[in-house]
């Protein structure tokens, strides 16, 4: 059961992240996801300091508010302050992350939150935690969020699709681009928060971007895109954990390396077959 829960947790995170990541990648907003995963930290710490619990509604509230604050600040620095988009993202997420680290090291010493946990996550403790309806609480939360994500994306698939692929066309149809963008960012920050304690603030970006980028090099059709991204994420989680057990290394980075290697080998493979194809056609001529 121990390994089953770890694999299940990783797979659910992979499903959540690659689903939202697909749209983030299509909208060229991959790094906003990265920024969000860092920016929510002070929200988590403050909520934890007030409520004293690690898995509470307050954590979600605190983290989501900081996610929104980060997005608004980036937008404000970019539009009103005159910073470049890249610089605005870079300045805000590092500032909020720094504040989070200061709060942890000075106020939350010797508690459940520590700096290593923030960076690397701790997926191996998931099966040991108290359960809700028979499943470990964090996993239960992730499943609920997965259902919410799936529901909202299924209902709003048209809006997400059109604003991701063709924003000019969406504008002429009178579809609100900010609405769908903020909805996507909102879902992303909630998902990031709940993936945080399992995979950490940095490697969550791998779960968001790598499966979607893998799908991106294979297809441009949305249903196939989503199916490939999700399958890629889930298979990587299962195999990644098995490799981790076999080599006695941590699970999450093992999944990260596996996903990265799979993507890079596919790119090399594509390049070689392309070369072979062009050579063949030259010979035929």
């Amino acid at each position: 059961m121990f390994d089953f829960y770890i694999i299940l947790t990783a797979a659910v995170i992979a499903i959540n992240c690659s689903l939202l990541g697909s749209f983030l990648v299509l909208k060229k907003m991959s790094l906003i996801g990265d920024a969000l995963s860092h920016a929510v930290l002070p929200g988590i710490v403050i909520a934890f300091l007030i409520s004293g619990e690690i898995n509470s509604f307050w954590i979600l509230l605190g983290a989501s508010s900081f996610g929104i604050i980060a997005i608004l600040l980036i937008d404000w620095l970019n539009r009103v302050g005159g910073f470049g988009k890249d610089s605005a993202i870079g300045i805000i997420y590092t500032l909020l992350f720094a504040i989070g680290i200061i709060l942890i090291t000075s106020k939350a010493r010797n508690t459940d939150i520590d700096v290593d946990c923030v960076l690397f996550g701790d997926i191996n403790t998931i099966p040991l935690l108290e359960t809700t309806f028979g499943v470990p609480a964090p996993l239960f939360n992730l499943i609920i969020i997965g259902i919410i994500n799936l529901l909202i994306i299924t209902i709003g698939i048209k809006g997400f699709k059109i604003t991701s692929f063709d924003s000019t066309y969406a504008k002429t149809l009178g579809i609100s681009i900010p609405f769908w963008t903020y909805l996507l960012l909102g879902l992303s920050s909630i998902t990031t928060v709940y993936s945080f304690d399992s995979v950490g603030a940095i490697m969550v970006i791998g779960f968001i971007v790598i499966p979607a980028s893998f799908a991106n090099i294979i297809t441009r059709k949305l249903p196939a895109f989503l199916a490939i991204a999700l399958t890629f994420g889930v298979i990587s989680s299962v195999i990644g954990h098995l490799i981790a057990i076999y080599l006695d290394i941590p699970t999450v980075p093992s999944i990260g390396v596996l996903m990265g290697l799979a993507l890079i080998t596919t790119l090399i493979g594509k390049k070689i077959t392309n070369k072979a194809l062009t050579l063949e056609s030259q010979q035929n001529d």
Binding site: V25, K28, M29, S30, L31, G33, D34, H38, L77, V80, G81, G82, F83, G84, D86, S87, I89, G90, I91, I92, T94, L95, F97, A98, I99, I101, I102, T105, S106, R109, V115, D116, L119, F120, I202, M203, I205, G206, I208, V209, I210, S213, N216, I217, D248, I249, P250, V252, P253, S254, G256, V257, M259, G260, L261, L263, I264, L267, K270, K271
Partner: protein, 432 residues
């Protein structure tokens, strides 16, 4: 110990340990700040993230090879891994349709994952030297030793020398790529040079602020500097200065309270400088707003002055007083703006109130003539020299009348040869 005795002890520079830490952070801060200007101008702000996270596996391999925590091996490993990450990001974007930002995120998480695995292998190997290797994640300013200083000093010196030698090349390549192309300056080499500077400064910079926050150490001071100056050299120095100030304050805060981490505090100070610059600098939000308000006031009062003169002109009685409603009905102007305009004009003594009527003073008449003269001269100029139809020239003249300087007016008169009427056959008023 109270704050001031701590303060004087810290800044008396008598404690060798504090001095090492200060000197180290100042050197690293200045270097990162300088390189940051090149990074931000070259729109490479986000590549720093990929480089910094990729340095973790490099450091681990450097440690595994040397078996000890020797800064030289660690930095060499870090630089190599950083170079690999820059190559990977470019390679992925060049052979697929994956965009730059996604490519950065892929390389970042992939390389960092390798780093975490290596870190766990090192920790399990039980090498007693490994403790503190994870300090690289958030920096370890407080443990900078004297021998580290020589290494940082050398590398910082190399970076500063490279920037001063290639100063002109950078300037041309970053500000005028067309010109750079015509004089045969190879952009490829400049890009490689800038990437190398990014990699080296990131590898040494993570000593103070760590892997996650180093990108802020590089891009935040530079972004702030651009609010105060447009000059390339000044922005490099100012960016370095901002980073140095933040480093000193950060080190001081963690000296005052050892629970406070140095790196994150440096970043908080840096970001505060950035936000302060965005709000209060000459190019900042407050100045822009104030200027905007001032310009709007001037436009309102100029317009009211003009209307008063033109009503007189229409009736051939320029010195007669006009009532509030008469001015209001001349052009559609709302009561609030009209009262505001009249208030400004009375305070300047350009308009005098006589009972219920408003009269132009001698000074006011002169100013009104000037505005209308510019308006009509400009209309004529647009029609004559830009071949614009006479019914299309009014809009542009409405704007130009508020901003034209006396020097430009003279030039305009010279071009047009003191004309007497505008395209609408209205008389151009000259001074008597």
């Amino acid at each position: 110990m109270n704050f001031w005795s701590d303060f004087f002890y810290f800044f008396s520079f008598t404690d060798a340990n504090i001095n090492n830490v200060l000197l180290g952070t100042i050197l690293l801060g200045f270097t990162c700040g300088m390189v940051g200007v090149l990074v931000v101008l070259n729109k490479k702000a986000l590549i720093v993230d990929a480089v910094s996270h990729a340095i973790l596996p490099g450091i681990c391999i450097g440690f595994m090879i040397s078996g000890i925590k020797d800064s030289r091996y660690l930095i060499l490993g870090g630089i190599t891994a950083g170079a690999i990450s820059v190559f990977l990001v470019d390679w992925i974007t060049s052979i697929s349709r994956i965009k730059k930002d996604a490519s950065i995120a892929i390389v970042l998480s992939f390389m960092f994952s390798i780093g975490v695995i290596l870190l766990s292998i090192i920790q399990e190997s039980g090498n007693s030297n490994q403790s503190g290797l994870s300090d690289f994640l958030f920096g370890k300013a407080a443990t900078i030793l004297e021998e580290d200083l020589y290494l940082f000093g050398l590398l910082s010196l190399i970076i500063i020398t490279v920037i001063s030698i290639f100063y002109q090349h950078f300037k041309i390549a970053l500000f005028d790529s067309n010109f750079a192309h015509t004089i045969g300056l190879k952009n490829k080499y400049i890009q490689i040079l800038i990437s190398s500077l990014i990699i080296i400064s990131t590898a040494i910079g993570i000593q103070t602020v760590g892997i996650v926050l180093i990108s802020a150490m590089i891009i935040t001071p530079a972004s702030s500097a651009f609010f105060w100056t447009n000059n390339f050299k000044k922005s490099i120095l100012l960016s370095g200065l901002f980073a140095v100030i933040s480093s000193i304050v950060g080190v001081f805060i963690s000296y005052l309270s050892p629970l406070m981490p140095t790196g994150p505090w440096i970043i908080v100070i840096l970001s505060s400088i950035a936000i302060f610059s965005a709000v209060f600098s000459e190019k900042g939000i407050v100045t822009k707003r104030l200027k905007g308000r001032k310009n709007k006031k001037k436009m309102i009062s100029d317009n009211v002055l003009k209307y008063l003169y033109r009503i007189g002109e229409n009736h051939n009685k320029p010195s007669k007083g006009r009532s509030f409603n008469e001015i209001k009905n001349f052009r559609s102007i709302n009561s609030k703006e009209l009262s505001e305009g009249l208030r400004i004009l009375t305070s300047k003594k350009w308009v005098v109130k006589a009972g219920d009527l408003w009269v132009l003073s001698e000074k006011g008449t002169k100013e009104a003539k000037r505005i209308i003269r510019i308006h009509r001269l400009w209309e004529l100029y647009m029609q004559k020299f830009m071949q614009i139809q006479s019914d299309h020239v009014h809009e542009s003249a409405e704007t130009i009348e508020h901003i034209m300087t006396p020097e430009l007016e003279k030039e305009l008169l010279k071009y047009l040869g003191n004309p007497s009427v505008d395209p609408h056959q209205q008389k151009i008023p000259y001074e008597d």
